[in-house]
Amino acid sequence: MRYLRGFFILTAIVVAMPFLFPDNYYVTVVAVAAGLNAILAVSLNLLMGYAGQISLGHAAFFGIGAYSSAILTTRFGWNPWLAIVAGMALTCSVAFLVARPILRLKGHYLAMATLGLGIIVNILLVQGERWTGGPDGLGDIPTLSIFGWIVDSDLRWYIVIGSVLLLVVVLAQNIINSRSGRALRALHGSEVAAEMMGINTTATKTAVFVLAALIASLAGSLFSHQQTFVSPESFSFFFSIELVTMVVLGGMASTYGAVLGAVILTFLPELLVVFEEFEVMIFGAILMLMMIFLPQGLLVGFNEQIRKWLLQRARASGGEQRRDIA
């Protein structure tokens, strides 16, 4: 259970927040946005951090999920839960179809291909006006209800998103610490070596790509019910980049790092609004400083710094003891 230690801490924080700060804007509104971003970052981290496959098109799957829910519930009157499943099924097939050809590529070429995917989906959302409502977006999306419990307040959304985030984190941690998780990391290290060890790299890469897409699709569906309005710019190339930034900022190959990255990138702009026109500049400067001083990412970087410091202290005290003996 050692690998779940972080999970318990995260659970404690998620559960404690609404009790510590009931009816607080940062908890009920910003934290919900942060939670959604964290779900996306955790899923992207599986692909990027662990398997080492860069994706600049993750927002596309988020968008497919969101628009599937939005269109099926508003235009066809589907049950929201059925729409979520349909969205995930659609995402699954799209991800599966593109995974094979796309994941043959490496490095910049893979980045380019996923970028293209993201842009194509975005163009479809903008141009498919009859279904998607075009650039003006699509509104009047019904909210969710769970066995008669209607998710209609910010606090209730906090509970839903928080629970889903915790589930996704457990899922990610379990995968990483399983045989397939080790396969992923082997693949990251060296694809050739991994294959020599008997890992089916194509199948592993495809599986993790589809899984990441499925989680993104689920997040998209939740997003569209929570916002009750979707428009294409929420799923643009820039959002994909934002997600990559979250993963890199928090620390690649660390699920909690991804969560931390998402939380920081969501909260920081909220806190910086007091600086008005300098907001964007300060935001950029903070990101730059973080990357300069903690290039492995915040969580990973901090952990290492603390470990180093502890080691030094241990060595120093060890030295003293030796001197004492002498």
Partner: protein, 381 residues
């Protein structure tokens, strides 16, 4: 675990003190705003914010509005709908503003409308889409003319010139798409047939292919709905191809920038636009003239060339303040009723007469038909 709890509670309390709203005297009017100050739509949000700040400062310096100081709380959405929703919640729940004037783009305005209705707070949108006010929503109002009105104005002018067959070419952005839909919907009513329906992407640099197709039709005029550089390229391409048809542009290019970009090709292009651009050409009898010249000189003295977008913020701010004054309170329901009762308000976009059925309140006369002559606009009516 306790350490983490302490750290997190410390962090949150630090956050709260950092951004917490200052203690407010009860005698203030709190106006909230969310605008696209950065990003692709910043050409809308930037003059809007400058206008709001300029007038709020002026009113406060002069002792406030009806004895009350005004506090403006504003956030930058970057034109993103989800940020607009987030900041609208912040304005309502955290800043507890009395009303909201904002929403530079149609997407951001439409996104917050369910929230505004649920929270029962008056919202004056500064965005163009007709969807914002049709069907009428109790708490939402809107300042700019709709794209349907622009299309109607253009068709009216075409009928006067005896044009009945029109080739449509539109940009693929929100503005172009919405304009295209309205143009197609209204065509029949004006007895106009659309003989071609072409489109171009936001970053296209050459539209000769689409225009060649249009040349092969029996169109009597070309109508272009779009923002940014697209319309300037269309204008140039039309001249390069030697197409000798009247060219109509939308109010999306009602700025000096368009004339600069299109150069000589812009000569003879007609477009509907708010009177603000041609304020000095208006007859002295025009009720808008004084308001327009005052706004124009004030804005230009502080920030450079005026745009109609900043004008919408002016209209929104003063319609809101007038409503608060008539209501004698900042009570949300009463202020909303008074906004709906706005009659004869002379703004930069026209004369506003609102009603429960019309949350825009502008008539067709709010648009002037302009023609570009010698690099400047001339009113043709």
């Amino acid at each position: 675990m306790s350490i983490i709890k302490t750290i997190s509670s410390l962090a949150v309390s630090a956050i709260l003190t950092l951004t917490g709203s200052q203690l407010m005297a009860s005698e203030t009017i709190k106006i909230g705003s969310f605008l696209a100050i950065t990003g692709g739509a910043s050409f809308l949000g930037d003059p809007e914010l400058k206008t709001l700040q300029m007038y709020v400062e002026e009113i406060n310096a002069a002792g406030g509005h009806a004895g009350k100081q005004i506090e403006l709380v504003h956030y930058d959405t970057g034109g993103r709908a989800k940020d607009a929703v987030k900041f609208a919640k912040r304005l309502i729940q955290k800043d507890k503003v009395d009303l909201i004037v904002g929403g530079s783009t149609s997407g951001t305005s439409l996104a917050v409308m369910p929230l505004v209705a649920e929270s029962e707070i008056p919202f004056i949108s500064l965005a163009g889409s007709v969807k914002i006010i049709y069907p009428v929503q109790k708490w939402t109002f809107k300042m700019p003319h709709t794209d349907a009105m622009a299309a109607a104005k253009i068709y009216g002018d075409m009928r006067k010139r005896g044009i009945s067959k029109v080739a449509l070419i539109s940009g693929s952005g929100g503005f172009g798409k919405s304009g295209r839909t309205q143009s197609i919907n209204l065509a029949k009513q004006f007895g106009i047939t659309i003989v071609a329906d072409e489109s171009y992407g936001a970053k296209d640099t050459d539209m000769t292919a689409q225009l060649t197709k249009i040349r092969d039709t029996d169109a009597q005029a070309i109508l272009n709905f779009g923002f940014g550089t697209g319309p300037a390229i269309v204008t140039k391409n039309v001249r390069q191809l030697g197409i000798d048809l009247p060219l109509y542009q939308s109010h999306g290019v009602a700025s000096k920038k368009f004339i600069e970009l299109a150069g000589e090709a812009a000569e003879g292009v007609r477009l509907p636009a708010a009177a603000l651009l041609v304020a000095d050409q208006l007859p002295d009898s025009d009720p808008q003239k004084a308001v327009l010249l005052a706004y124009k000189s004030k804005f230009e003295a502080a920030h450079g060339p005026v745009s109609t977008f900043g004008g919408h913020a002016y209209d929104g701010l003063f319609i809101a303040l007038d409503a608060i004054e008539r209501a004698g309170t900042t009570d949300k329901a009463k202020v909303r009723d008074e906004i709906e009762n706005t009659k004869g308000f002379i703004g930069t976009a026209g004369v506003f007469n609102m009603s429960p059925q019309d949350h825009l309140g502008l008539g067709m006369d709010a648009f002037k038909m302009l023609e570009i002559k010698n690099g400047n606009w001339v009113i043709v009516e």
